[in-house]
């Protein structure tokens, strides 16, 4: 086998386009993934994230553009000549081989004679040393997942690709594996590129997230950046939930804009606005809102004239739907940790929040973009 160990460095996708007939799966995508990072490609089914991953793995050829690893162009390199390994969505373990032989597969193909120490170390890393002699079908889903990970990691690739690796596991196991994967990535120090439709999974694990939609990257940044200051309605709605209210910039006050929301004035930091003109969508995350009874003093931004429409108690918090005078229902998550008596349906209330939490999007955006997608329900990925 060709020696691929010298190829390493940042992964660079330049102007990658992939079309199938009339359908554009990935559209002029450029992206740099730094060596050693845990990078997530996040997006709904059909957004092109799996296609992107398959092009990096060499399982698909881009229609246009180049892929390079460090200084080496790998756009048309065969998968078996790339120092890249993949953890496949349904693991794709070899059913005819033992767990030991599954993990040893890559090492043997590269002509390594004594595979035992490395395979045993990989098994130890995923804590399944006692299963070395079994066949894949004798393992549970969670165990198969770990073996798939061990089979890839044992090769010490320059890049490890994870294609919805936790998609088939139940919620509790998934949460546990998220923490473990993060730990393993730190332990082995490899570059991980993780594809998922689960925003919580991406936020838990990744250093950097690229949110993809319709073959393009909507926004790229750290989980906190994306959540606190989304650039588009799609990101605001796909990553957590957002209240987006139509408004107009009506004046300035130092570093802040004065914004008119259906006749009520609020303030917005200028550097948190992605609007291009005076028409904006003001965004506030539901947990940033505070509900107050009419006579209570508040600080920061204030919207008056609300009426409680619905109350759902979910343990750590209570979720309220508050109907505003202009007919929009706002979502409010209140922690159940203060002395304020819970609000009941029909109560007239005001809503307030720290003005620093406000973000603003372009006013011509679809306020519901990214909302119709219910990420947890998508099981099958874009094929």
């Amino acid at each position: 086998m060709a020696d691929t160990s010298s190829i390493k460095g940042d992964l660079r996708l330049s102007n990658i386009t992939k079309t199938y007939g009339d359908f554009t799966a990935v559209n002029d995508l450029s992206l740099t993934i730094p060596e050693g990072s845990f990078f997530a490609l996040l997006g709904p089914s059909g957004c092109g994230k799996t296609t992107t991953l398959r092009m990096v793995a060499g399982l698909e050829e881009p229609t246009k553009g180049t892929i390079s690893l460090g200084n080496t162009d790998i756009t048309y390199t065969k998968p078996y000549q790339r120092p890249i390994n993949t953890v496949f969505q349904n693991y794709a373990l070899f059913p005819h081989l033992s767990i030991f032989e599954n993990i040893a597969f890559g090492l043997r193909r590269r002509g390594i004679k004594d595979v035992k120490p490395q395979v045993e170390k990989a098994l130890e890393l995923v804590e399944l040393s006692h299963l070395a002699g079994r066949k894949p079908t004798q393992l549970s889903g969670g165990q198969q997942q770990r073996i798939a990970l061990a089979r890839a990691i044992v090769n010490r690739p320059a890049l490890l690709l994870l294609d919805e690796p936790l998609g088939a596991l139940d919620l509790k196991l998934r949460r546990q594996m998220q923490i473990e994967l993060k730990w393993i990535q730190k332990e082995v120090g490899l570059t991980f590129v993780h594809v998922t439709h689960d925003q919580e999974e991406a936020m838990t694990m990744a250093d950097t997230i690229a949110v993809m939609n319709e073959g393009e990257i909507e926004q790229l940044g750290s989980p906190a950046d994306l959540y606190d200051n989304p650039k588009t309605a799609f990101v605001a709605n796909f990553l957590g939930q957002s209240n987006l209210i139509k408004g107009t910039i009506s004046g300035n006050d130092g570093d802040n804009h004065i914004v008119d929301l259906f006749g009520q004035k609020i303030s917005l930091a200028k550097n948190r606005s992605h609007a291009v003109d005076n028409s904006i969508l003001a965004g506030i995350r539901p947990e940033k809102f505070r509900i107050s009874r009419l006579e209570t003093a508040t600080s920061g931004n204030l919207l008056t004239g609300g009426k409680i429409e619905d109350v759902s108690y979910i343990g750590v918090s209570t979720q309220y739907q508050v109907l505003m005078p202009w007919g929009q229902e706002l979502m409010v998550f209140e922690q159940n940790d203060d002395a304020v008596a819970p609000f009941s349906v029909g109560e007239n209330v005001n809503i307030s929040w720290e003005s620093g939490f406000t973000f603003a999007l372009r006013g011509d955006e679809d306020a519901e973009a990214g909302m119709e997608v219910e990420p947890e329900e998508i099981i099958d990925e874009d094929e």
Binding site: P79, N85, T86, L93, H96
Partner: protein, 289 residues
């Protein structure tokens, strides 16, 4: 009370369901086999008519029959092996292409594989006689390309017999191979490529081992009937290509030597059984899932 009558089956039901099958097998398999077994040790009635035999428990019939026909036995297993290997070589790429590359044509191709069954086995074999005959296109083409000498003919040869058998048993090889290749998850092949295996290594280490159940089933379905076949040798062969099936045929119906024919039948059955058992053991313990 009503429930037990209408809903819950009685413990006798499984036996009742088995009855037609057992009855059929007993009448048309076990009884004739027993009959054949007792025929195999008979000897001619002294001074009796042709075809009248009596039971004398003469086990030497087996040895005599085998020694007399060991050449035909050898030929049967040789031809059957050749036909099986050729059928495997032709059917494997075909089944692989249908399973992985055919796309929308998959079902059409499967129908085409089975299509020869719509014509009688005999007719198809006779057609091969035409194809390989002096008037067919094969012989003149091969002669003009100097692949065979001008005097060489293809009919009435071992070549024709093996070719006929290969053709006739091809669907029996293709279908189980297809079934088992089609079940392979293409992602395991992608995983193999991802783990530094090139195309050939992927075939050797992943595709072929995973298709082994189909290979075993296909080779058995081809080899077993081919070893006992007599139609191909009768129509496409010559006295020099006689197989054991032809010997049994002529002993039974022409020479009316029932004991020898019966002894040969049992010897053939035993030989196939032993070969198949060894084969399954070998294939089974190594890589069969």
């Amino acid at each position: 009370m009503k429930m037990s009558k209408s809903g819950i089956s009685s413990p006798r039901t499984p036996y009742l369901l088995l009855l037609p099958g057992i009855g059929f097998l007993f009448t048309f398999f076990i009884w004739p086999i027993a009959n054949l077994a007792q025929t195999s040790t008979q000897t001619p009635v002294a001074g009796g008519d042709t075809g009248s035999y009596e039971q004398t428990l003469r086990w030497r019939n087996y040895i005599d029959a085998f020694v007399e026909n060991k050449e035909q036995f050898g030929r049967s297993f040789l031809y059957a092996s050749l036909a099986t290997i050729l059928a495997l070589a032709i059917a494997y790429p075909l089944a692989y292409a249908i399973a992985f590359k055919a796309g929308k044509l998959k079902n059409v191709l499967l129908v085409l594989v089975v299509a020869p069954f719509f014509t009688s086995f005999l007719l198809r074999t006779i057609a091969w006689k035409q194809i390989l005959g002096e008037q067919g296109f094969v012989v003149p083409t091969l002669r003009s390309l100097h692949i065979i000498a001008p005097s060489t003919t293809l009919t009435s040869s071992a070549f024709a017999v093996v070719a006929g058998m290969t053709y006739n048993f091809l669907p029996f090889m293709t279908l189980p191979l297809y079934a088992s290749i089609d079940r392979i998850d293409p992602r395991t092949l992608e995983a193999s490529g991802d783990l530094y295996a090139n195309g050939f290594t992927t075939f050797r280490k992943v595709t072929f081992p995973l298709s082994l159940p189909g290979v075993v089933a296909g080779t058995l379905l081809t080899f077993i009937p081919a070893a006992g076949d007599y139609v191909n040798a009768a129509i496409l062969g010559s006295p020099e290509t006689k197989m054991i099936g032809n010997v049994i045929d002529s002993r039974f119906f022409k020479i009316v030597d029932y004991p020898t024919a019966a002894a040969l039948s049992f010897t053939l059955m035993a030989a196939i059984l032993v070969l198949v058992t060894v084969y399954i053991r070998k294939a089974g313990t190594e890589e069969l899932v």
